[in-house]
């Protein structure tokens, strides 16, 4: 058992938890939340990969660490866009649940 093992297992489990929430939770806000949990699990896996590659006097391989920083910024932008969409939907249409069949057939009437 080492630090990387523990966080590697944690990352894998968080991916599972996040994926389940993203698929199953009926509320969009909670799906967004699950996406963030899923994302942080993936980032931790990158962190474990980086940590295992510690060499040349660096505490970790800097390339995967840079991947994570890029990914975090993108994940924040994605969260912001999703939240903005959700709030606008709540403002315009009331119901925010996504799983009812889309009424695409009749809207042009």
């Amino acid at each position: 058992m080492t630090t990387t093992t523990i966080y590697g297992l944690l990352g894998a489990l968080l991916v599972g938890v996040g994926l389940y929430g993203l698929i199953v939770h009926p509320r969009p806000l909670r799906k967004i939340l699950s996406f963030n949990v899923l994302g942080s699990g993936v980032f931790l896996l990158f962190g474990v990969v980086a940590r295992r590659g510690a060499a040349a006097g660096f505490g970790g391989d800097p390339i995967p660490q840079a991947f994570v920083i890029t990914g975090m910024v993108v994940a924040f932008a994605a969260t912001a866009l999703a939240v903005a969409l959700l709030l606008r939907l709540a403002e315009v249409g009331g119901a925010t649940e996504l799983d009812e069949p889309p009424p695409a057939e009749d809207r042009a009437a």
């Binding site: 990352g11 940590r51 040349a56 932008a77």
Partner: protein, 313 residues
Amino acid sequence: MALVLDAGMALCLLALALFALTARASYSAVAGFVAYGLLVALAWVRLAAADVALTEAAIGSGLTGALLLGAAARLRASESTTVAWPSAARRAAAALLSTLVALGLAAVVLWLPQPAPTLAHEAAAGLPSTGLGNPVTGVLMAFRGVDTFLEKVVLVLAMVGVWSLAADERWGGRPGLRHEADPNGVLAFFARLVIPLGLVIGLYVFWVGADHPGGAFAGGTVVASMWLLAMMTRLADTPPIERRALRLALVVGPALFLLVGLAGLAFGGGFLAYPEAYAKPIILAIEVAMTLTVAVTMALLLAGPPLRSADGQ
């Protein structure tokens, strides 16, 4: 003993993630997620990735937390008490799939090759020619600079996307609702003390990023949160999105990156190749522009689409 700490933190993180997933009220779930983000930042320190820890502390627990808290509060009223969960069969299928993925990942991570492949030696060899001391900054600004450049373009598109959700007649106006706050109240007092301190910290984080953990992302995000604090306490208002200076601030980071790259192409060194003698000043100049762009973009992504006309009504 360190391992006990790691295991304890991992358990707390898992518990918080499950709480964020299962809590009945969205607002509580988000509160759990803020706590989660804070602990993840600690985990990054344990993984010897201080640059990532700084970014996570600033983005993960700070900005994402504030964003989701705001959303949860606004949706609280419209959130129906009961929601239709998928059928038990679908839930079971999803659970099976998620479990398989998690177990597969866990197994694979445990059996990754030993010794682990790494680019740390290559990065260490390339770092001197960039004049930088922090390898992560070297990767972000030099070795894989194009990723960073394109990711800034992603932020520009995200900004367009958030603004696209405005009502037509509000286009060009100020993002977000006007905050109410007593200029003499305790919050404003707090903000007046903290904002200057925070700005200094943000600039410090950016500045040390050349040689120590830090950099444009974390520094810019800290500055963004201070600007947001000023907005929330009504010491500042969001600028109208039609303002040219604002648009310039939102693109100056990638634009400078592009211009420097083109100059390199024109003068023989090649795209994004910095002449060794000037590498550090050039990279720092790009990083200054980048910090500004990150700060303004992050804050305005959180502020949302324009809801008021340019004169603030």
